[in-house]
Symmetry: C2
Subunit: 339 residues, 2 copies
DNA sequence: CGGCCGGGTGGGAGCGCTCCCATCACCACG
DNA sequence: CGTGGTGATGGGAGCGCTCCCACCCGGCCG
């Protein structure tokens, strides 16, 4: 049986068939320009006939690379963004990476032990590049990767002082949009249920709220802020606290759709009508926003595009060794019934 | 500098330090029993001191294995189960696999071209085992993998004639539960919005509906079935068709929560009150079910457990070469406001 | 007491690739 | 017509591991 069978065929086989040396075939496969047109054609023909495809393990062993991109996700965030954030971003990432020689390896961190395991693996060269889908501010991983010179791209702005590529939705801008909308609607007291301030999106959305208030000549009084934990009950609790503190509030900008649902719960419970008594705007435009009662006015971020951009930025570092850069994606306001 | 630095250290280094040969170290690492206690201890000590961990690429090159488990997902289904199905199942899978030597590689199939690429890659030995997270009935991939002798586990029952491991939720049983509940509630005309019959869960849930009706001594008349495509508008359309055909219906079992939301839309539009005029039960217990108006009574399936079981079954095939087996997970009824 | 068996061990030959270097043809120049 | 490039090529030495085989040594049998 010829080497053409299922049992893989090697560079050597191709070389023999094309009447050239192993090295020349390798050059063709890796796109080196130092090959004559005739040789290149012969090799390409042989590759087609034999159905050759390079052996990953051999390639990465000899080349001291892993041919792998790691997608790092920490578990709590998967649960948190229980809405399709993870799935959609991954979709975008896989779409871009599927067309390259890189394999996408999933690294989920459940426990602290996982955290250590994952970091060791990456620092050991377990992946050529790293995509960080969700990290808390204060997580040392991005910094360590940068120090080790391992290309990486984060979803969300990197913490201060860390030189990493990133793709972020325009959280500040989106929040401003939302709050400006509430003000334009005639609301006088615009409070906010903010996400945890130790998470960048939480902090940024809150900053956008402040900015919009400042631009309208209003002050962002501390009594107008309550912090939630990005969950539905958390949003409800924060809203109750706000209601107790500021019974005069007539608008609520909430740092995530999930928390906004909690806010709706609390408002209903308090007998406030939405949007007549209190207008509510969320953030994310998750699936949930469409089916709540009333449907949620919210800020949409292009999640799938976030994934594709992350992959693209990483590839630029990996293949064209471009320096790490950042991209900010535009967000838009989706007006529904709640505000 | 000793080989202990960041720059990896090899079997040979460990062997030198422990005063044994490379082969002996390899035996220890791979758990061979043919090593004396003294040698084993010396090697383990050396490994700890040097912080050795084996090189994946070398191992898989020499061992003719890939040390990899592929998670295959087709894109349309990610979009469909836009609810956290994918994320949660993946969580379960990664949790189990993280503790093993296998890497989890993500393979998403966007286009038909991807389909071919993925199949070729797998049939070439691109992964030691395969986890199929979502496949349509009629997809040849599971069959091809089985023929090639590549261990695999599917989410959902495999198509007829294919010998593959699988983990399935008890769709039939869950549907029976739901319909029995509607009947016990006093509903007289229980119709169903079924999922596409070419998808196993769609067909099974419909079968459960029929079974429950039969058990109650009622006939599953064809006029009581409309097929949706697992989307919200699809569910609404199917419901409209049912309403036109059977204005007397007073209960609806819907094959997914997303379609059930569509059903609620259509019922509201037709002026029917839920659950007073028409009781509605969904399937999945997605996030959405909790926040709809009224909250959806639905059938819960243990998605994360589905993932862990899939991983476990695959590992059994891989490491203990157990034959492929199937597991069916219990579903339960969650009663909320809609039925 | 010679042979034989078998657990424990070391050496060596790859796995399929990349990359460096030597080689060689060929051209242009002095 | 020699010399020095320069572009194209082949050969060889690994990358770090697994696995086969040969080896050595002790105990036990005949």
């Amino acid at each position: 049986m010829t080497p053409a069978g299922r049992g893989q065929c090697t560079l050597e086989d191709v070389a023999a068939r094309a009447g050239v040396s192993r090295a020349t075939v390798s050059r063709v496969v890796n796109g080196s320009p130092l090959v004559s047109v005739a040789a290149r054609r012969a090799v390409e023909l042989a590759i087609d006939e034999l159905g050759y495809s390079p052996n990953r393990a051999a390639r990465s062993l000899a080349g001291q690379r892993s041919e792998t991109v790691a997608l790092v996700v920490s578990e709590p965030s998967v649960r948190l963004f229980a809405d399709p954030f993870f799935a959609r971003a991954t979709l975008g990432i896989a779409g871009v990476l599927g067309a390259t020689r890189y394999q996408l390896v999933l690294l989920m961190m459940h426990s602290d032990a996982d955290h250590i395991r994952v970091e060791r693996h990456l620092l050991r060269g377990g992946a050529d590049g790293v995509l960080l889908l969700s990290t808390r501010a204060g997580d040392p991983l991005p910094g360590h990767l940068a120090e080790a010179g391992i290309p990486s791209v984060m979803a969300g702005r990197p913490p201060e002082g860390v030189e990493a590529g990133f793709v972020d939705a325009d959280n500040v801008g989106g929040a401003r949009l939302a709050v400006a909308h509430l003000i334009a609607r005639g609301c006088r007291v615009v409070a906010t249920v903010a996400g945890p301030t130790d998470m960048v999106p939480g902090a940024d959305r809150r900053a956008g709220w402040e900015k919009a208030l400042a631009e309208a000549g209003r002050s962002a009084d501390a009594s107008l802020v309550a912090e939630g934990d990005f969950t539905r009950p958390g949003g409800a609790d924060a809203t109750r606290a706000l209601l107790a503190r500021r019974p005069d509030l007539d608008a609520l900008f909430v740092g995530s759709d999930l928390m906004a649902l909690g806010a709706l719960d609390a408002l209903r419970e308090a007998g406030r009508r939405v949007p007549e008594d209190v207008a509510v705007v969320g953030f994310d435009d998750s699936e949930l926003a469409r089916s709540s009662d009333p449907p949620l006015t919210t800020v949409r971020q292009p999640i799938e595009q976030l994934g594709t951009e992350m992959a693209r930025l990483l590839l630029a570092q990996l293949d064209d060794d471009a320096p790490p850069t950042g991209v900010v994606l535009r967000t838009e306001l989706v007006v529904r019934g709640s505000g």
